[in-house]
């Protein structure tokens, strides 16, 4: 049973007992939930997974067995497989088997990528391997646009992110060129009205932003990452209502903004000095670390309060996890200078208690104003 279903069951019992919901009404609500669940059937998901596995099977079979064939035969095989996938998709669309048709489109994308790699192998092409991944990603996005395929769009996002990481490792540059196809793919997700696609867009954008500090302005510009994430989160807080009138995005925007902000702060505190976790207390100027840590913890607590008030579960869990990670890393990092460690935890304890008191007072004043009405 899903989390929502079990919560609803509990609430329904309570509402029925209070007399707000009739037994008939409760039955209707349950039936409605069961019906909406049918749309989330396993068949399409399994079909797409099957297509991906089929693609891998073709790739490895071809790679293992085709050395006996002439180049022309190999090319015919690849292009034949490509047309078979898209032809099969057209046939399945005609028979109203849309889920399987989309799986066939994903199969076509897999064959297209395999063909790029195998042609490069056949003709001893080397060049820049990341370019081949970009070519594949653009093919996947083309498939998403032409076949209105959400699964193809997901493949496009994954391939774009792989291309970005690969190209960045090679060129050690920010790769602003990533933003254009990413924006195009995000627009496509909006056009397809596919909400998970927008999440994928936000996720790939976040993955592009987080390492940015290492790649621009001498490799220490992590405050820029904090700033970008902070602007997104603050925008979600300040203009959330206005945004949500058009499209309910402010909760997600806040969560992604928080994730990017904290990732930037984490890098700034623990990774920027070139040392990893067990760097010892002397690896960064301690005061800087302490100030940043206090700032991070206060920010995370603020985010928790906001997430609680706006009923934003993902942001709340993210803030909890980040808080735990921060405390754990700080502990490991300052281990060895016991005095500093204890001092830090004293400060943290004071902040948390102070905020708890503040939250309590806020809650009280809210209830008294409500009671006065």
């Amino acid at each position: 049973m899903s989390w929502y279903r079990s919560k609803l069951e509990r609430d329904l019992k309570r509402w029925q007992a209070a007399g707000w919901v009739t037994p008939d009404g409760a039955g209707a609500i349950r039936r409605d939930l069961d019906q909406s669940k049918a749309a989330f059937a396993a068949a399409p998901v399994l079909a797409v997974l099957g297509a991906v596995l089929f693609g891998f099977a073709v790739m490895s079979f071809v790679a293992a067995h085709w050395t006996g064939m002439s180049k022309l035969a190999r090319l015919a095989l690849l292009i034949g497989a490509l047309w078979a996938c898209y032809g099969g998709a057209a046939l399945l669309f005609q028979r109203q088997l849309a889920a399987f048709a989309h799986a066939a489109v994903v199969g076509g994308i897999a064959v297209y990528g395999a063909s790029i790699m195998l042609i490069a192998q056949m003709y001893h092409m080397e060049g820049n391997p990341a370019d081949a991944v970009l070519l594949w990603a653009l093919g996947a996005l083309l498939a998403a646009a032409l076949a209105s395929s959400a699964a193809a769009l997901a493949a496009g996002f994954v391939l774009l992110t792989i291309w970005c990481a690969w190209e960045r490792i090679g060129s050690e540059s920010a790769l602003f060129g990533f933003l254009l196809p990413c924006a195009g793919a995000a627009l496509m997700a909006a056009w397809l009205r596919w909400r998970p696609g927008l999440h994928l867009a936000a996720l790939s954008l976040a993955l592009w932003i987080v390492p940015l500090g290492f790649l621009v302005w001498g490799g220490h510009a992590h405050w820029l990452v904090v700033l970008i994430g902070g602007v997104a989160a603050v925008a979600a807080v300040v203009c959330g209502r206005a945004l949500d009138r058009h499209l309910p995005v402010s909760a997600a925007l806040f969560t992604y903004g928080l994730a990017v902000t904290y990732a930037g702060l984490f890098i700034l505190q623990f990774l920027d000095d070139g040392r990893w976790f067990l760097g010892g207390a002397d690896s960064a100027p301690l005061l800087r670390l302490l100030l940043l840590a206090i700032f991070s913890l206060a920010l995370l607590l603020g985010a928790m309060v906001w997430a609680l008030n706006t009923d934003n579960r993902p942001a709340l869990w993210l803030a909890y996890t980040a808080f735990a990670l921060e405390i754990f890393t700080l502990y490991v990092r300052t281990f060895g200078s016991l005095l500093t460690t204890s001092l830090f935890f004293l400060v943290a304890a004071l902040i948390v208690s102070g905020l708890a008191w503040l939250a309590y007072r806020l809650h009280q004043s809210k209830t008294t104003t409500e009671a006065a009405r």
Binding site: T67, G68, S70, K71, L72, L75, L78, I79, L82, W83, Y86, G87, A89, A90, F93, Q94, A98, V105, G108, Y112, S115, I116, I119, A120, Q121, M122, Y123, H124, M125, E126, G127, N128, L135, G139, L142, A143, L146, A147, S148, E167, I169, G170, S171, E172, S173, L192, R193
Partner: protein, 193 residues
């Protein structure tokens, strides 16, 4: 959001056509390079001469793959971006690098040829002032997939002999392996199709 079946069929045909087109451009571009490119032969410097053709693909080394940093003229190449190495034919018939530039230079005369290369280790970080610094350059002709059945024959032929690769080079400096020369004789030629 799904299109009507007949429009979807047309969209999928267009998709298949465009992706086939991309693959065809890859193949034709290579065929053009192999058929119309200028031919040069470069001696192969194998890493392990006895096992050269045993594996599925071999890594071919070339003397021109080591370019002294002092040959750099003008600004250094950008990270992960290609650059150009000018080769010159010396009296004994072999080619030696004479110039390394970020932009493509004019190749003048039959004794000069320009190859497009990339730094083997991603970033090009060499001090041109250091007289001993050497740039390790890949021209895209270093990986060779040994043709099926040819391995043992080439292996036997190559034992203790002089090996060279026949390279086709186009006007933009792209290079491709056209065949293998053993003791100066063409022993294996890559089929176009």
């Amino acid at each position: 959001m799904t299109l009507p079946a007949n429009r979807m069929a047309r969209a999928l045909a267009l998709l298949a056509l465009l992706q086939t087109g991309v693959l065809a451009v890859m193949v034709f571009d290579r065929m053009r390079l192999l058929t119309s490119g200028r031919e040069i032969s470069l001696p192969i410097v194998p890493v392990d001469p006895r096992d050269l053709f045993r594996g599925e693909y071999v890594e071919l080394g070339y003397a021109v793959g080591r370019v002294p940093a002092r040959l750099l003229e003008g600004p250094p190449p950008l990270a992960n971006a290609p650059f150009y190495v000018t080769l010159e034919k010396v009296p004994d018939g072999s080619w030696v690098p004479v110039k390394l530039t970020r932009d493509q230079p004019q190749a003048a005369g039959p004794d000069r040829i320009v190859l497009k290369g990339r730094s083997r280790f991603g970033r090009f970080a060499l001090n041109a002032e250091d007289p001993n610094a050497v740039a390790s350059v890949r021209y895209g002709i270093e990986q060779y997939f040994v043709p099926q059945g040819e391995g043992p024959r080439l292996e036997a032929l190559a034992r203790d002999k002089k090996l060279a690769a026949l390279i086709a080079v186009d006007g933009s400096g792209n290079a491709a392996i056209k065949g293998l020369l053993i003791d100066g004789r063409l022993q294996y030629e890559e089929p176009l199709l």
